[in-house]
Subunit: 354 residues, 2 copies
DNA sequence: GCGCGAAATCTAAGCGCTTAACATTCGCCC
DNA sequence: GGGCGAATGTTAAGCGCTTAGATTTCGCGC
């Protein structure tokens, strides 16, 4: 690995000044074609790779966008590098992963590099700051970045938060119609299946979760049905789901259907129910929200509401790029729609198989 | 968005020199605790976010690792931002996506930022160079980076190539036992199902594809069976798979089983077969290679060989990080194992359902 | 009160690239 | 041949941070 060539080396070899080399790369038409060729030849010969750091410093922009998430999937332990991934415990890709795909696709299309950061633990300030310092704009999942950090970062670069609400000046948000999606789902359960006794598993910690619960309660109320309390469970925290299930059982108070605020919680609940010897949807129907792949993989498939995850990611990038380009109100958009996906866990018959 | 605060601003507000501020952030013990507190307070007040560009320039390292891939999944068209992702055409995540997850997990664990770049079209030199200029080490999928670029980049930073063979000095490779995996699969088809007339769909363009074909032919030969020619098909290029299928039909030469070198090709082939009114595995058995989620989602599930995708990604990061740390022979490793995953498309009965 | 080494700070020289401002060259026309 | 504007090049001043090496400050023992 011979020591890296710089602009100076190329300039010397090509017999021109460093400015010319710089122009040759960034504004080829400002340079005579002979010169251009000579510079390129020299660069090639030296294996010149421009330093993005230096470029970023000089330009004041890095040409990269950051994505900051936490990971609901527990990172596998340090030592299992050799372990073959287990096909049964397949939970990847989750909501965040599919959104990330959208972000990736759009970044690529727009010519931006994508910088990925994140934690599974508490979003320690310095980590966000670290990725924030590397990019021109940041996309963050709601809850992944604390308010303090958010304020700090958004004072420097534009930030789009996914699945939150505007908490901090200058932070943009992507709107998804969580409420209507959940209302559609609940309506299906009431109308098609005639369920009356509902359970609700989830949390109300973020605006999107609250919207889901709103859609749920509004529909029940319209149907003249009682609204159950929220039984707490955090996506990715399977024990809480299991505990919730046991709670219902112990109280002898199992609902007809357990509506969960995420697919991840729903899957955990189903696992717990089946572990207790109950069948889904036989003894209890269960539904989720998000539309992750693991839900489709389930047998029968999970009834859920699908969010347009890829679209969310792409829109976030678009907003950021436009904002950076100075487009006014780049963040204004229609809420993205979420759609009911009927699987088998609500009690609907499985589709005719192949 | 007030203009970004720099080290100078913080230093001034805290009443110390910039060096002290720098130390406060990077080597806190070299600074008296009162000073440290004062600096932090000032930084907080100003919303100071250190510039990674400047830091990278000064340090000569960026603290980031790059991942460069092409995308077999055709990027959705520009305008469908609003379109709800289609649940039926679900192909994500592909092989590369799962490897990427491994890379992400490991980068996070090691405290490296991850920079993602890539093309779906020809790997134009400058794009690779762009990400190469931003990172301390690069992970690239075989074929994603041309040899010229590879040479150029590997002269500057360590590079690990996935699924290739060493072509360029200094480029490391991750070894997966493709040959044995395919041999196990073929063996299953011969022994358990008694298939005799084989078809092989795929290509031989990269070493790993050649290894798969080797495992296939060796097993057939051992069994005294004739080795079919390779019918060309490129993963992600469904029309070639469809054409291949039509070719068999037209020649009236449909094999008992069509062994494909990737799951993606297998899925395309199955689509094509079913479109022609044939059943899988009834009329023809089909197998894949990789172990992508879409294969599991198929009904019946695709019989395939699973690669330890996440492990591949993690190992790549480990090699890079160790190499950067100066560990000698950091890239030496046992080949990772690939394992046979029996689904239904080979003719095996589906597992007892729930 | 003085002298010393250790601890805490500061000074200043880059890191590699961009770009405004200035200097040359060229091609053309009169 | 001289003059001019356009096309090319060059000079040099940063961009914000790290880090040797110089300098100052402190805590102590005598």
């Amino acid at each position: 690995m011979a020591r890296k060539a710089t602009l100076y080396d190329v300039a010397e070899l090509a017999g021109v000044s460093i400015a010319t080399v710089s122009f040759a790369f960034t504004k080829p038409d400002r340079v005579k074609s002979d010169t251009l060729a000579a510079v390129m030849a020299a660069a090639d010969q030296l294996g010149y790779v421009p330093s993005a750091a230096a470029r970023g410093l000089a330009r004041g922009r890095t040409g990269a966008i950051g994505l900051y998430a936490f990971d609901y999937l527990l990172d596998s332990d340090a030592t299992d590098e050799q372990a073959t991934d287990m096909p049964t415990a397949r939970l990847f890709p989750l909501y965040a992963d599919e959104v990330q795909r959208g972000v990736q696709v759009e970044c690529r299309r727009r010519g931006y590099a994508l910088m990925i950061g994140g934690t599974r633990a508490a979003p320690h300030l310095s980590q966000v700051i670290d990725v924030a310092g590397r990019v021109d704009g940041l996309i963050a999942f709601a809850g992944a970045v604390g308010e303090t950090a958010l304020k700090q970062v958004s004072g420097r670069i534009p930030v789009v938060e996914l699945g939150g609400e505007v908490r901090v000046d200058g932070v943009r948000t992507i709107y998804v119609d969580n409420r209507q999606g959940m209302a559609d789902l609940t309506s299906h359960l009431v109308t098609v299946h005639g369920h009356r006794r509902f359970g609700y598993l989830g949390e109300l910690g973020t605006p999107e979760f609250r919207q889901r619960f709103d859609g749920f309660t509004a529909t029940l109320r319209d149907a003249g049905l009682p609204v159950p309390p929220v039984t707490r469970s955090h996506p990715g925290d399977d024990p809480t789901a299991a505990a919730a299930v046991r709670g219902f059982l112990e109280r002898g108070d199992l609902p007809d259907v357990l509506v969960c605020d995420t697919d991840q919680s729903a899957l955990a609940a189903i696992d717990a129910l089946r572990a207790e010897g109950l069948t889904v949807p036989g003894d209890v129907a269960v539904t989720g929200f998000d539309g992750i792949v693991a839900g489709e993989l389930l047998s029968p498939a999970l009834t859920t509401v699908r969010q347009p995850m890829e679209a969310i990611g792409r829109l976030a990038v678009r907003i950021l790029v436009d904002t950076l380009a100075g487009v006014p109100d780049a963040h204004v958009h229609e809420p993205l729609r979420s759609v009911l996906v009927v699987g088998g866990t609500c009690g609907c018959p499985p589709p005719a198989g192949t």
